[in-house]
């Protein structure tokens, strides 16, 4: 316990942490950020993001038209199947509108919707340079406001005395430190980078999952708090997972590892058998389902097969596809049984019908007949060499288990609030989202609740 303990300590160094830090510092508090990552990797999953979803009445910044609270909420309800805390969701949605100018004032710059994402031009504001530039801008702003940042500072334990956090333990440079701030904000993300934990929750298959974002979100603080009886929320066995390029790195592959070719392909497992309708819906509505489908296949891997006529129908991939002049050769290169692959493709081709209505960007109804499972859209025979293949793996975005907070972002123990503990961002997102995910909502939650947590934490610190 040192006398120079700051008023407020923020655990984490991503979007939610920075929004809280800036808000608290502007309210006059002395703020310390403890970020476990080294400086080049600061910013957690936030460094991988590209946009946030924002309600608006009329054109706002880069956003066109308008996007109302009701429409936003309806979109959210649809993806979560109603498993949404409506009160907190409305709070996040309503506050998102004032976030955009606030972000600009604090250094964030926006750009028009990226090429290939025009469908989001009305709902999602894109960060110029992506999430890392947002994080950089916030660190600059925080620095100007006198916020102290410690990198490679891994928080290991929060000591609770009844309904109060009395001490934070962290390690840095192999040394243990303890501090006793007046207020604490937890913004240290989910636990998806701890694959042992994932495997305990999901089953051993999770060991083969790839983690799309930071390796530093290992849920250390989350586990520590839940163990001490802090209220939890969200399904502990669930994670948000999508199908990504199987050659992606284990961690931090980020956005570039996505593959948009499934609707124009057939997807087989390692026995060269199809297992699901590749053309069920447009890809943005299916990539999360495919994360689970691939996870259920042997070795948690899938193989996408397309032919020359489909190669340019989707966004370029980060790794070039595997290419071969015959299906046998492709099977060989991809480690698939050649005979089985040839047979699967032949069966698929034989059940394709009239393809004259083929339309790559709409549900075209060009489907197979008599095939199980069917392909209900974009079903064109795979005949034109060269043939191309990609492997698919399950890529985890985040976990749902989190800290339960109220509309002031405050944590609870039993049924009482913890007087000096707030949470923001991924680590409390389960309070709003029970399942599913809406593109751009993660950054909205982090910004809205980061600012609320910062304000509340500062008010508490300034009053004591």
């Amino acid at each position: 316990m040192t006398s120079d303990s700051p008023d407020i300590t923020i655990i984490g160094g991503g979007n939610a942490a920075l929004c809280a830090a800036i808000t608290a510092a502007e309210a006059g508090a002395r703020v310390l950020i403890l970020e476990t990552a080294p400086k080049p990797y600061r910013g957690g999953n936030s460094r991988h993001t590209r946009n946030f979803r924002c309600m608006h009445h009329g054109p706002l910044g880069p956003l066109v038209d308008s996007y109302t609270e009701e429409e936003y909420l309806a979109d959210l309800m649809k993806v979560t199947g109603g498993k949404t805390d409506e009160g907190l969701a409305r709070l996040a949605i309503r506050s998102s509108e004032e976030c955009l100018p606030w972000m600009q004032e604090h250094g964030v710059r926006f750009q028009p919707s990226l090429s290939g994402t025009l469908s989001l031009a009305r709902t999602n504001a894109f960060f110029l340079g992506g999430g890392k530039s947002l994080v950089n801008a916030y660190y600059r702003t925080a620095d100007r406001l006198g916020v102290q940042v410690e990198y490679e500072a891994a928080v290991t334990h929060l000591d609770l005395d009844d309904d109060r956090v009395t001490r934070i333990d962290y390690t840095q440079d192999g040394k243990r430190h303890s501090i006793a701030p007046k207020s604490v904000v937890v913004a240290s993300g989910g636990f998806q980078a701890d694959t042992d934990w994932l495997a305990r929750a999901w089953g051993p298959a999770a060991k083969n999952f790839l983690i799309r974002g930071t390796p530093y979100n290992r849920g250390v603080v989350l586990a520590d708090l839940l163990d001490q009886g802090i209220e939890q929320v969200g399904d502990p066995t669930q994670c948000h997972a999508v199908a990504i390029d199987g050659r992606a790195p284990k961690f931090d592959g980020g956005i570039v590892t996505r593959l948009d070719c499934v609707p124009f392909s057939i997807v087989v497992n390692k026995d060269a058998q199809r297992f699901y309708d590749e053309g069920e819906d447009v890809w943005p509505k299916r990539y999360a389902i495919w994360g689970r489908l691939v996870a259920a296949q042997p070795d948690q891997v899938g193989y996408v097969i397309i032919d020359a006529k489909s190669l340019e129908l989707f966004m370029p991939s980060v790794f070039p596809p595997i290419k071969a002049d015959t299906l046998e050769e492709l099977a060989d290169k991809m480690g698939l049984p050649a005979d089985a692959l040839v047979q699967t493709v032949a069966e698929f081709n034989n059940s394709c019908g009239d393809t004259s209505q083929f339309h790559p960007t709409e549900l075209d109804g060009v489907s197979t007949t008599g095939l199980n499972p069917p392909k209900t859209n974009w079903a064109r025979p795979i005949t034109e060499p060269p043939f191309y293949g990609y492997s698919l793996r399950t890529g985890v975005t985040f976990t749902y288990l989190g800290l339960k907070v109220d509309d002031r972002a405050q944590c609870a123990i039993g049924n009482r609030p913890v007087t000096n503990l707030w949470a923001a961002g991924e680590t409390m997102a389960g309070s709003i989202l029970g399942q599913g995910y809406l593109a751009g909502f993660g950054m909205t939650i982090g910004t809205v609740f980061g600012r609320i947590a910062g304000k509340e934490a500062a008010a508490h610190a300034n009053a004591t």
Binding site: F127, G129, G130, K132, S133, P320
Partner: protein, 355 residues
Amino acid sequence: MQMQPDLLQEARRQAEICNACRYCEGYCSVFPALHAERAFADGDLTQLANLCHNCRGCYYACQYTAPHEFDLNLPQALANVRQDSWEELAFPRAAGKAFQKNGALIALVTVLGFSLLFWAARALASVGGEGFYAVLSHNAMVAIFLPAFLFPLVSIGVSLRRYWRHVGAGPLRPGQVLAALRSAAQMKNLKGGHGDGCNFEDEDRFTHARRAVHQAVMYGFLLCFAATSVATVMHYVFGMPAPYGLFSVPKLLGIAGGLLLTAGCVEMIRLKLRADRQLGAVRAFGGELAFIGLLGFVAFSGLALYALGQTPAMPVLLVLHLGAVLAFFLLTPFTKMAHGFYRLAALTLDAQRKG
């Protein structure tokens, strides 16, 4: 032409990652051009490289820079290809190879320029000329500087033709050139897409320092050039030889330009010394600094000559100034100076492709 395959391959590898990412689309004209392709031929990469202003916005914004295994450093990859293209496209090629990366050689040529002028001043000392022409006769100056002026024009002309072929451009239209000139005149791309400037001297902080300094150098140079041109016209067309009074057009243009150019070069060198060298063409750093030094010296010695033209220091200053000007002209196609021409060509092609 044979550009270095390893440099091209590295730029291609990175361009493919960017093409799957697209987060930097709004920073500059490189990204929209990049995203319009699926595969990158050598000419495509050369064009992208010459569109890049090395503002570094995309480096500091990139989530894949080292220590990440993707090891993105697009500003450096493009700078290397750009540098290599200037060497390979130079006419004669050997001169491009010799000077672009070699500050010492640039300095050597400058000293040779001084020597030549000293020799000329002695051997061809004029009888009865006035002012500067008492040091070196007007005819001797013309004999030395006319070829020195025409040679770089021809050389750059050849290089630009080579460039145009290499990148696979179509027939040129005046509107495209105009669009390129407009963009260059404002240094639009150095504003960083959001108008906050670029990242250069202080990591990820956006400032207008580099843009301002570059504008000073460019407009300073153009003013000096205009001063010389006006003086030439006055001499030949109106029969009004130098020296000119303080309030004459050539002097006003020249002094303003000289001050801008001198200050711009000093400041540019300071910025470059503060910036991270790993984000540019590392091996060309010495050559770049030497070139800026030479340009600054041309401006500064010109100003000194204005100031001390009536003193006994004049003959020495004149010889130093003219020697530096000579070296500058001769080296224009083979030093950083060439970038302005390639940049204009790249912007022109960009306007053409945007149609």
